[in-house]
């Protein structure tokens, strides 16, 4: 019986060792593959262009850090900006002048009005707004 006890102990010890080894290896692999959070090299306020680049009544997709932003120059001469990422699944929206000016997402058909509000399709939220400051001819964007 003493022999059986020793064998049983060895069997359990080998099982435990195998389990610990596999778990450690799996943990190491998952940690290796999990991307580290990039150290923030993003800026809160950025110059994204000049007034002359966006004609009155037109829009332009500009780059704000890693995010595409829809910059709008309204017919009344104001500037507005919204994230150009559709709030449904992240595709970049497109300005569509007809039948009324709006932003449409070609991926699943969501639509946003010129104030960024979701008006049709599966998008669950409005487009995130940006604050626009015009200093001289430069356009500054700040994430709200």
């Amino acid at each position: 019986m003493a022999g059986t006890g020793r064998r049983d102990f060895l069997r359990r010890a080998i099982g435990f060792w195998a389990l610990a080894s596999v778990s450690s290896a799996m943990s190491l692999i998952v940690q290796f593959l999990t991307p580290r959070k990039a150290e923030s090299s993003t800026r809160e306020t950025l110059v994204v262009g000049t007034v002359g680049e966006v004609g009155v009544g037109s829009t332009k997709i500009v780059r704000f850090n890693k995010e595409p932003v829809a910059l709008i120059h309204t017919p009344s001469g104001q500037f507005k900006a919204f994230s150009a990422r559709c709030t449904h699944l992240g595709c970049v929206v497109q300005f569509q002048p007809e039948p009324v000016p709006h932003f449409g997402c070609n991926c699943h058909g969501s639509q946003f009005d010129m104030n960024g509000r979701n008006i049709a399709g599966p998008a669950p939220r409005p487009l995130s707004p940006f604050r626009v400051n015009v200093q001289g001819s430069s356009i500054y964007l700040t994430k709200v």
Binding site: V92, N106, P122, A123, P124
Partner: protein, 357 residues
Amino acid sequence: MTTYPWLSKAATWCSDRLPLDALRRFAEGKSVPRHKHSFWYYFGGLTLFFFSVQVVSGILLALSYEPSPEHAYESVVSIVNEQMHGWFIRSVHSWSANLMVAMLFIHMFSGFLMKAYRRPRELMWISGTVLLLLVLGFGFTGYLLPWDTTAYFATLIGTEVPKSLPLVGTWGVELLKGGEEIGGRTLARMYSMHVIVLPLITIMVVSFHLLLSQLSGSSIPVGTEVRKPPIRFFPNFLYRDFISWGLGFIALVVLACMLPWGLAEKADPFASAPPGIRPEWYFWPLYQTLKMVPAQIFTLNGEMLVNALVGLLIVFWLAVPFIDRRSARERPSPVFTAIGLGAILYIVITIGLAYAG
């Protein structure tokens, strides 16, 4: 007797060292039943055939493809425009992927409707379902590789969908993408999955599936009258399999030549998604469902609901042999026939709707 004595010597040399006689006896002893539904037996072989084409054409493409955002698109353009027969090999790879999925769907649904999953073939059904998921994984990971606009946005959508899963969603997606954005790491991961991880797993599961099919043989549908004697698997059924592979090959070559696979503009993460963007047709049921489901259903997030539904469907599909008790007792099970036909109808309708835009 032999025209080539060296061939006879080589065969003897091999059979002295390998159990070739036992294998031949096994193959000769195996038979395939003949009845009014026997036609559907050929689709498993056709799926395997197109998978083999995928392996060969994929290896050829991998020898010239450069998996980095800077060079991926240009390398595909170079394969297509500059390399001898490059357009043909890429077209064959893309078309055979689509034909493989189509054959797999036919094979799976014919198996489902014939209740081929019933005892003792439960493991064949489970391994087959795992193969379906692996093949869809191949489609998804391979789609980004050309690094064109369509590929970029299709991958963006595909990786955003599971984000709504509670607890592991965002982490899992970032693990898959190698970061928050789709970039070089994403391409590297998709490429490694496509050419190393998935093929290794698939070859193991395919081998298991084939081994089981050899051991258990072909299933005869419940209540089907078998009047004709079965045919021998080797060589009779295998000859017929070869004929179907030949027809598949002709279809593949015709499609690859007449409708060569296209390439959109190079991916630009800051450009608007182009009109008419859609994933591959076999993801259209999911794509169309996502399009139809509202953002909020009562208090639930629409995407999360679709995710949960897909998860439940996979679990259900895997568990079918254990739920369908009537088939297990060799009795007709009209409920499961209706489920299978309903699933086919849903797939056809959503594909039609997605095609119509």
